[in-house]
């Protein structure tokens, strides 16, 4: 391997395995998220798996590669967007009567496009949770150790 590849991240085996599996992990997270209303799973579990795919990328390739895919500002934006989508869907329930009212057509049970607002709420929760967990990991990685001297006064 060249010296350029050896700069950041872990060994070639880990990097190759991560490159091959990160897409599948992300796809599995999206599957868990989108089928949250018809099978076990949902917004929280899907969001965690989506965040884990980016964390896997960061562990294998170092922080610069992962932060170029998903910068800090974008992470912060998605986290705020998730909370705002959830709140606005809940507030839109007042058009029919009360908070968290399921105001869209429900559709057939046990189909993918059904259950009204619940898939949208799952999407909002997964944005919030995935961005939040990735932000926690980034905060731990980027925290610098600067051992300061015990200054008197």
């Amino acid at each position: 391997m060249s010296s350029k590849e050896r700069q950041t991240g872990m060994s070639v085996i880990v990097r190759t395995t991560a490159r091959l599996t990160v897409g599948f992990i992300l796809l599995y997270g999206i599957y868990i998220l989108s089928h949250g209303h018809v099978s076990p799973g949902g917004g929280f579990a899907g969001g965690v798996i989506i965040a884990l795919s980016f964390i896997n990328l960061m562990l294998a390739y170092g922080k610069d590669t992962a932060l170029s895919k998903l910068p800090k500002a974008v992470t912060s934006f998605f986290e705020n967007l998730g909370a705002l989508i959830l709140l606005s869907i809940a507030l839109l329930g007042f058009t029919g009567g009360y908070f968290f009212l399921n105001f869209i057509a429900k559709g057939e049970p046990f189909h993918l496009f059904s259950a009204g607002t619940i898939p949208l709420l799952n999407l909002a929760i997964s944005l919030k949770v995935g961005a939040g967990i990735f932000a926690i990991f980034v905060a731990f990685v980027l925290l610098k150790y600067e051992p300061e001297k015990n200054k008197k006064e």
Binding site: S39, P40, F44, P109, F110, I133, I136, F140, L143, Y145, E146, P147, E148, N150
Partner: protein, 112 residues
């Protein structure tokens, strides 16, 4: 009944880690183990003999399901546990940054 005692011993392992260890990281691991023991206890008292998962699915006859309420509580508890673990680790990192050690007996610089 024996399985509840096993759960209690699992909790005791975590309590031993909290009370007896001196390394902050090991104390945090003790907190996590105790928390998971409580989660496991909640799931165990919700179990029914021959019960199945409380998920309504098509073409499945409704027999006896396990109790769904403690599972919802434990799901919330796992999320809160994640947040408290993050706070504990952040505090441990700050302590290491200031004192240069994880040993709680050597953190005695209280002059400010």
């Amino acid at each position: 009944m024996a399985i509840y005692l096993l759960c209690l011993s699992f909790f005791s392992v975590g309590l031993y880690g909290i009370l007896r260890k001196r390394n902050i990281i090991k104390i945090i691991i003790g907190v996590i183990i105790a928390e998971y023991a409580v989660n496991l206890f909640f799931i165990l008292i919700a179990y029914r003999i021959e019960g199945r998962a409380p998920i309504y699915s098509p073409n499945a006859e409704i027999t006896n399901m396990v109790d769904a309420l403690p599972q919802a509580v434990v799901l919330t508890s796992i999320v809160i546990g994640l947040a408290t673990t993050v706070i504990l680790i952040a505090l441990a990192m700050r302590i290491f940054e200031k004192y240069g050690t994880f040993d709680i007996t050597k953190i005695r610089d209280l002059r400010g």
